[in-house]
């Protein structure tokens, strides 16, 4: 039993901490958000140089071959800094689809480009009525002599405006909500028939609605096995869940610590508000929620990193559902309390508090919210 980080992991952690300290003052962050794609291209190059873009990819693809713990360490620090660069979208969703996919050519050609920082990607898997069900796919891919023709509407595509390439889920067979019959295709943003409209979310990130109208793709643009895209989506989403939960951990930690700090300095009735017992108890509960979330996080990463002989897939799945449930529940609790205890100051855009709260709210809705994962957990636990 050992929950300590290795020397290598500590070095990784320190490098992210330093980056955040150097480049992520709240004012600098506002500046990045004002850039065309809502993040800094400069920072992205730094990510590449520091080797962070390679963390989850295997060594044979030029990656670092990182474990879930490595990814956790990286994401938690990015979460503390409220970093806006699209690590999740490009590396974990888009890159994850390639890595978990079955197209060797694409892996060897595109993943090194991701690692170099040369390509921005996005996974287009949401549709208007699909909610959190990844196999509810109305977008169609119809077979023709040269390959496939894609038609449909993808919505709220993370990093969809900056993306050079998309990976799109589309139905190659079966009915709209069948688990089988979903396939993944890689599509250039400049393809004929593809258009996009950008929107901004409360955490500042840019998303796109992507419209596909008779977009032609060849057979070698198929990322997954035919009809078996769901397996890839499930696999990549498991990795991304850990990352999101670690990012949320970082955000919660900052919120809880800065709230405690504020309560020591803000005075009303001639005493620090931190001396009021009701606030003390609530901050104890914030601290508790933070520590319990970290515990579920460690539980999940340990089970994911278990070598395949000892790995119990049901146990892993339950741990991940529990973890993402906690992201939503603890995130909302800590977020709401942070604003409340800051009083009017908590409502201001000037303080970082509100920005962390918004990011936590967005993380909750990404890849299934707390209620969704609690339901999935129940189904497994009761089975």
């Amino acid at each position: 039993m050992d929950f300590k980080l290795t020397d290598e992991q500590n070095i990784l952690k320190d490098s992210v901490t330093k980056f955040v300290a150097d480049r992520y003052e709240l004012e600098s962050r506002r500046g990045y958000l004002r850039e065309e794609n809502g993040f800094s291209a400069d920072n992205w190059q730094q990510f590449a140089e520091l080797g962070w873009l390679s963390v989850p990819f295997s060594e044979e693809l030029g990656g670092f071959g990182g474990s879930a713990v490595d990814l956790m360490v990286l994401m938690e620090e990015l979460g503390k800094g409220l970093v806006v660069e699209p690590y999740l979208a490009t590396v974990l969703l888009f890159g994850g689809a390639l890595a978990e996919g079955t197209n060797k050519e694409l892996k060897t050609s595109v993943i090194p480009e991701i690692i170099e920082g040369n390509v921005q990607g996005a996974l287009a898997f949401h549709e208007r009525d699909s909610r959190f069900c990844m196999h509810d796919v109305a977008t169609t891919a119809e077979k023709n002599a040269n390959g496939y023709v894609l038609n449909g509407q993808k919505t709220v595509v993370y990093n969809g405006m900056a993306a050079d390439k998309f990976i799109v889920s589309a139905r190659t067979s079966g009915a709209r909500r069948d688990e089988s019959g979903v396939s993944l295709f890689i599509v250039d943003a400049s393809s004929n028939g593809l258009s996009r409209a950008g929107f901004t979310m409360m955490d500042g990130q840019r998303v796109a609605n992507v419209s596909l109208s008779d977009v032609s793709v060849s057979n070698d643009q198929l990322v997954s096995d035919l009809d078996d895209g769901l397996a890839v989506l499930n696999a990549l989403s498991n990795n991304a869940l850990v990352a999101l939960a670690a990012e949320a951990q970082g955000a919660m930690q900052v919120l809880y610590e800065s709230t405690v700090e504020y309560s020591k300095t803000r005075e009303q009735f001639s005493v620090p508000i931190g001396s009021f017992q009701v606030l003390q108890h609530r901050m104890v509960d914030m601290f508790g929620a933070c520590e319990l979330h970290r515990s579920l996080l460690y539980r999940a990463v340990c089970s994911v990193d278990e070598d395949s002989a000892n790995r119990d897939p049901v146990d892993v799945a339950k741990n991940l559902h529990a973890l993402k449930t906690s992201v939503g529940r603890a995130g909302k609790q800590i977020g709401a309390e942070s604003i409340q205890i800051h009083g009017g100051m908590g409502m201001t855009d000037e303080l970082a508090v509100g920005h962390y709260v918004k990011r936590l709210m967005m993380i909750n809705t990404c890849l299934g919210d707390a209620d969704y994962h609690q339901r999935c957990f129940a189904a497994l636990a009761n089975a």
């Binding site: 009525d129 909610r131 929107f199 409340q340 009083g343 908590g346 000037e350 709210m361």
Partner: protein, 392 residues
């Protein structure tokens, strides 16, 4: 004990509904929702209510009130909320108006009340200061007598809609002797006075409502003092009571609950509407049950007020539960929007996004965090209830 409505009450309800159908039109609704047109639209709406004689049901008839029974007032509020109409801007009609007709002199009543009733003057509330929030009596903005004027120096913060305001009612310090509550006066200040600066405070909901108001040697005629010097705290406390009872928001929460239920019948999850999702519908039902209790708490409170017992000890409870229910609804609404939740449309249209309520759910969730902070925070309300109701 019974809560049946008489035939006259039902006829009254019909009359009110008819008024809304005739006057609360779609064009007005869309202008109210557009932040750039909001100010003019809400003034126009209040003026329609004024022309009907219904803008100040809470006021005594002699000053322009309606003379309605308690039940009629309840029906009026219920219809307003069910039609999705906004409450009137409270600062003039709900807050300072009652202070002026209760504690002001005849000249002040004549000068200010008509312009409050017909919405010619927009008022804002200058109480809080950077160092005086929950501990309001610690306020430091100073008013010093100089001939026929007071000279005001200091800063107010969190002043809602100061950017639109013609007048601000302020609590100012006129004495440093004795208890800090005893050196406070209630002063009406023309926002056009030289020496006033209004600085916007950007907020997490993205809509400009809050401001800081600075006073730099602002000269205010002593004729604008309400009541006696150093008695302002008493007047303000009377007003706070007013603010608190109307804060339960039962009607608005009922409307929001119905809206969420309707939208959950359309939002899909795995091929079925969200309302059929057991977890979602159980959460919705849980909030509805809380709201049913709150509604009757409010009715009981109104009934005891009608018996002349004044807004009683329940008023803190109404605020506490009312705001918590509102926040639970906001949270459920965000959750219903799934990954669309959190969209900030800005100038873009909901139709371009393809989702009709996500942006509004986000705005309401974020602004709604303040419901448990302003008007006396929920912690402070619990302190008051513990002390004055439980005797602790």
């Amino acid at each position: 004990m019974d809560t049946n409505f008489s035939a006259e009450d039902l006829a009254f309800r019909q009359q009110v509904e008819q008024f809304y159908d005739d006057n609360f039109d779609d064009d007005l609704v869309s202008r109210l929702l557009d932040r750039r047109q909001f100010r003019d639209a809400i003034i126009e709406w209040q003026q329609r209510l004024f022309r009907q004689g219904w803008v100040a049901p809470g006021w005594p008839e002699e000053y322009g009130g309606t003379g309605w029974t308690l039940t009629q007032k309840f029906i009026f509020e219920d219809v307003r909320a069910s039609k999705g109409a906004p409450d009137v801007i409270p600062f003039g009609l709900i807050m300072v108006g009652p202070v002026i007709y209760t504690f002001g002199n005849d000249e002040q009543k004549e000068r200010f009340l008509p312009r409050i009733l017909n919405s010619e003057d927009w008022w804002c509330q200058g109480y809080s200061e950077p160092g005086a929030g929950s501990d309001l009596a610690a306020l430091q903005t100073k008013a010093e007598r100089d001939g026929d004027d007071y000279v005001v120096n200091g800063a107010k913060i969190w002043t809602t809609y100061a950017q639109y305001a013609d007048w601000i009612f302020c609590l100012v310090r006129t004495s440093n002797e004795g208890k800090k509550q005893e050196g406070i006066s209630f002063l009406l200040i023309d926002m056009k006075s030289p020496g006033i600066t209004v600085n916007p405070i950007p907020t997490i909901d993205g809509v400009h409502s809050l401001n800081e108001v600075q006073f730099d040697n602002v000269r205010v005629p002593a004729a604008n003092l309400i009541g006696e010097e150093n008695k302002g705290w008493t007047y303000a406390k009377a007003l706070l009571q007013h603010e608190r009872t109307s804060i339960a928001g039962v009607g608005d929460s009922k409307k929001k609950l119905a809206t969420i239920r309707e939208q959950a019948g359309r939002e899909q999850s795995n091929g079925a509407p969200m309302i059929e999702d057991p977890m979602f519908s159980a959460r919705l039902a849980g909030i509805e049950i809380d709201l049913m209790a709150l509604e009757y708490l409010e009715l009981r409170s109104l009934a005891s007020a009608a018996d002349g017992k004044g807004p009683g000890t329940e008023s803190s409870l109404l605020k506490l539960r009312g705001t918590e229910i509102r926040q639970a609804l906001d949270e459920l609404h965000m959750d219903l929007a799934g990954y669309y939740a959190g969209t900030e449309l800005g100038e873009q249209l909901a139709s371009e996004l393809g989702h009709d309520f996500a942006d509004r759910a986000r705005n309401s969730y974020m602004y709604g965090r303040a419901a448990t902070i302003f008007g006396g925070s929920n912690e402070v309300q619990r302190n008051i209830t513990a002390k004055y109701v439980l005797g602790l």
